[in-house]
Every structure is written in C-alpha cells, then in structure tokens.
C-alpha cells in the first residue's frame, strides 16, 4: 500500500525540467494559433455616455459589433484567414447622435448652449435605432518559408457611410534556431476615400487619405518563465485628415474643423509576461506615443492571467492607465478667435483614462463552440467621457 502511494505521488508530481510533450510547447511567445483550423465568433457591445468631452458635440454612442474569423491550414506550409466585421451604430430617435468609437467616425454635429441641452435630454428619452451600418473584411494568407520564418500578406476592405478603405498588409516573423528570439517586420498601407460633408450638411466632394505604417517587433525569452516583447510603429499619413463632420465653436460662430494634411506618428511599446506561480502569470505593459501634431501619450497596464480552475477557466483581470496631451491646434471652447487650423475633438485633447477590464475564458464552453470568452471593460476619462464594453466570443477548433 505504501509503495502504491509513493508511486501515485511520483506520477502526480511534474518534473521541473521535463521535455515538452509537443512541438507547440517549443514555440516562443509568438502567434501559433493562426496556423490551424479555427472559427471564432465575437459579439461586441460598446456604450459611451456623454458627461463631458466636447460640450458642443454629442458623444453618446452605442455600437453592436459582430465579428467572425475563419482560419484554416491549407497545407503544411500555407494557411489563410478571413475576418468579417459589421458595426451597427445606434442612435436615439431625434437625437442625431451617431458615430463609432470602436468602428469609425466620431460622433459630431449639434449646436451649443441651451438647444444642446434640450437635444441631449430628448435623446435620453428617445428610442434606440440603427443610424449607420459599417462593414470591414480582412483576408490574409500566410506561408512558412522555413521552420523558423513565416510571412503573411493580405487585403482589407472597409465601407462606412462616407468612407471607403482599401488596405494591404504584410508581416515577416523570423525566429532564431533556438527559438529564444523572434524578430518581426510589418508594413501596412491604406488608401481611403471619403465624402467630405461638413457638420451643416455642406457637401465639399470627395477627398482621400493615405496611410503608410512600417513597424518592427522583437520578442525575447528571458528565462524559463519570462518573455519580453518590444514593438515600434511609425505611421505616415497624408490627405484629408480632419473629421469632416466635426465643427469648432468659438468667437461666436461654428465652423468646420481644419487640421494639417500630413501627420507623422511614433508608437513604442514594451511588455513582459512572467509565470509567477503555477497557475498565475503577470503581464506589465508600457507604451509611449508622439506625433508631429504635438500630441504626446503614455500608457501603463498590468494584466494577470490566472488559471482559476485547471483546464477549465482562465481569468484575466487588468488595469490600464493612459494619459495624453492635446494637439497644437486644439482650441478651447470659448476661445476669442478662430485660427486657420483648429479642432475641438475631445479625442485630440488633454485627458487621462483609467480602464478596468476582466476577461474569463472557459476552456470547455458551456454554450456554443469549444471555448467561450467573456470580456468586460469599463473606462473613465478625466474629461467626463465614460464607456463600457462587453464581449462574448465563441471558438471552434484552434488547438492541436
């Protein structure tokens, strides 16, 4: 009996340096999941309340967003994926509020003063109805050139009420032979066309916006329990970069927003993940941002990845803090004059944001699919804008 007990104890105990059971475990901190058959359906809900921000613009937004991802392994070395996304932007009857935080256009329009207050009060009493539907599709093909190098490329199409987008993207991931380092090169371009319709309904015809964004990434296995990732992205934009429907109210008049027609943006992010205990990993993250419009930003976040029930449930609570300074052309409401370049878009202003999030992944779904994800985010911005989002995601396949 005693021998049997010892044998059982030995079997249950995991050796510290056991060789991995599959090649999947040899992979470093890179995306392994896209190379195998998977279907993922995600239903997202976003609600933003307007208790601050730009006093001249309604910023209340509700969005329903279904997303579908189909990924398949075409052969040993080829894979493909298709992502489809729809955005139903909901406004209240009579409010005219529309726009998309998670999907696209910023809400705009409206006058200042008492009329605005009346409209907002009315909006709260109106019925929710779909004011705009937007579509996005992204197709990607991936190829493994060598056991250590993969490349992917693809196309994206987007269609909004006044906005059409065509994009191409490519990325190259190169791992070292010991798989302790991974280098990433990525590049994306967007050729967008938009109808310039100003806040008062004036149609100024078509214009274009072009975006070129190269980026590099580096991932390093620091030790048996820690991985570090570093990413840098440069974004160069030209064309019509204002938001057509945004207006600026100052010096007793309301005029369209006018912003420069070029923008250079830099974004640098550092994050790490460390297994601190058997079922618990911690992931700190920090990022800085700067652009030639004068905006500066910094973000810090910490996420925990906790396998609360072995093989059944992973919880990911997180907290994120973000702060930014306004662009040079930001104009305070009530400014005595109207400069040639001006904006009052609250997303381009000075503020800081605190976000709390919680995600639960059920490794054996009790609804549909093989896995079930539930995620909720709640954010509060220092200028009074608040939002929360809820996501439910179903996954079929995706793991060998």
């Amino acid at each position: 009996m005693q021998q049997l007990t010892l044998l059982l104890a030995a079997l249950l105990q995991e050796p510290a340096n056991e060789r991995p059971r599959s090649t999947e475990e040899l992979r470093p901190y890179a995306e392994a999941r896209q190379t195998i058959d998977m279907v993922q359906l995600s239903l997202n809900f976003y609600e933003q309340s307007d208790e601050g921000g730009n006093p001249n613009v309604k910023e209340e937004v509700t969005i329903l967003q279904p997303m579908l991802l189909l990924a398949t392994k075409l052969s040993e070395d080829w894979n493909a994926s298709l992502m489809l996304q729809g955005d139903a932007i909901l406004g209240r009857t009579g409010s005219g509020a529309s726009g998309s935080a998670a999907a696209g256009t910023a809400p705009a329009g409206g006058a200042g003063g008492g009329e605005e207050e009346e409209e907002r009060d009315g909006a709260k009493d109106g019925n929710l109805e779909i004011s705009e539907v937007q579509y996005t599709g992204v197709f990607t093909v991936g190829h493994r050139w060598t056991p250590y190098a993969t490349m992917s490329a693809g196309l994206s199409l987007g269609n909004e009420e006044d906005y059409r987008s065509l994009g191409v993207h490519t990325r190259w991931l190169q791992e070292t032979r010991d798989r302790n380092d991974a280098f990433l090169l990525r590049f994306s371009m967007y050729f967008d066309r938009l109808d310039v319709v100003t806040f008062d309904g004036t149609d100024l015809g078509e214009d274009e916006r072009r975006t070129f964004s190269p980026g590099v990434g580096y991932t390093r296995v620091l030790d048996e329990k820690t991985v570090l990732s570093l990413g840098y992205d440069l974004t160069w934009q030209t064309g019509f970069l204002s938001t057509a429907k945004n207006s600026v109210v100052a010096a007793g008049s309301e005029v369209p927003e006018v912003l420069p027609d070029t923008r250079l943006r830099h974004s640098l992010t550092l994050r790490a993940r460390r297994l601190v205990a058997e079922p618990l990993a911690v992931e700190p993250e920090a990022g800085i941002y700067a652009d030639d419009w004068g905006a500066r930003g910094a973000a810090a976040a910490v996420y925990l990845h906790w396998e609360a029930a072995r093989g059944a449930l992973i919880l990911r609570p997180g907290i994120r803090y973000y702060a930014q300074t306004e662009v040079d052309d930001f104009l305070d409401p009530g400014a005595p004059s109207l400069p040639a370049r001006r904006t009052q878009d609250s997303d381009l202003g000075t503020f800081h944001t605190r976000t709390l999030s919680l995600k639960a992944t059920f490794l054996k779904s009790w609804l549909f699919g093989d896995e079930l994800d539930l995620m909720a985010d709640m954010a509060e911005r220092s200028d009074g804008i608040r939002w929360f989002s809820v996501t439910i995601g179903f996954t079929w396949g995706g793991r060998e």
């Binding site: 992979r27 910023a106 010991d178 570090l228 800085i288 992973i314 381009l348 944001t353």
Partner: protein
C-alpha cells in the same frame, strides 16, 4: 522616459540566458500564451485607438482604414 525604457531593456536583455527547448514547459502553459482571442484583442485595441491618439499595444499602428477622428 526614453532613458528609462532603454535602461529597462538593457537590464532585461543583460540578465537573460539561453533557454533550452526542454526548459520551456512553463512558457507553453496556457496563461503564458499570447493573443488567445484575436477578435477580442482587435475590438479592444480599436477602442483604445478611437478614444485617444495612441494605439498603445505592439503592432497597433494608429490611423488609416476607418473614419476614426484620430
């Protein structure tokens, strides 16, 4: 800020060692794997992009592809 990041990077890389394949069992655990749900990550990143000037996560370039105001 740049100096702090450079110091953190140097300290991190300077202290690392080459990890053998059979020592990576912990790195293969589910809680250590990145981007379990790409759609939810995309949705979350889009919110961050739309409600500020910065993307904030690696590989999330700001701008282009939609009528976002920023």
């Amino acid at each position: 800020m740049r100096r702090v990041l450079a110091l953190l990077l140097a300290a991190g890389l300077g202290g690392c060692t080459d990890v053998r394949p059979w020592e990576k069992q912990d790195l293969g655990r589910r809680v250590m794997q990145a981007d379990d749900a790409p759609l939810e990550t995309m949705f979350q990143n889009k919110i961050y992009l739309s409600r500020g000037v910065s993307g904030g996560r690696p590989g999330v370039a700001a701008g282009g592809g939609c009528g976002c105001s920023n």
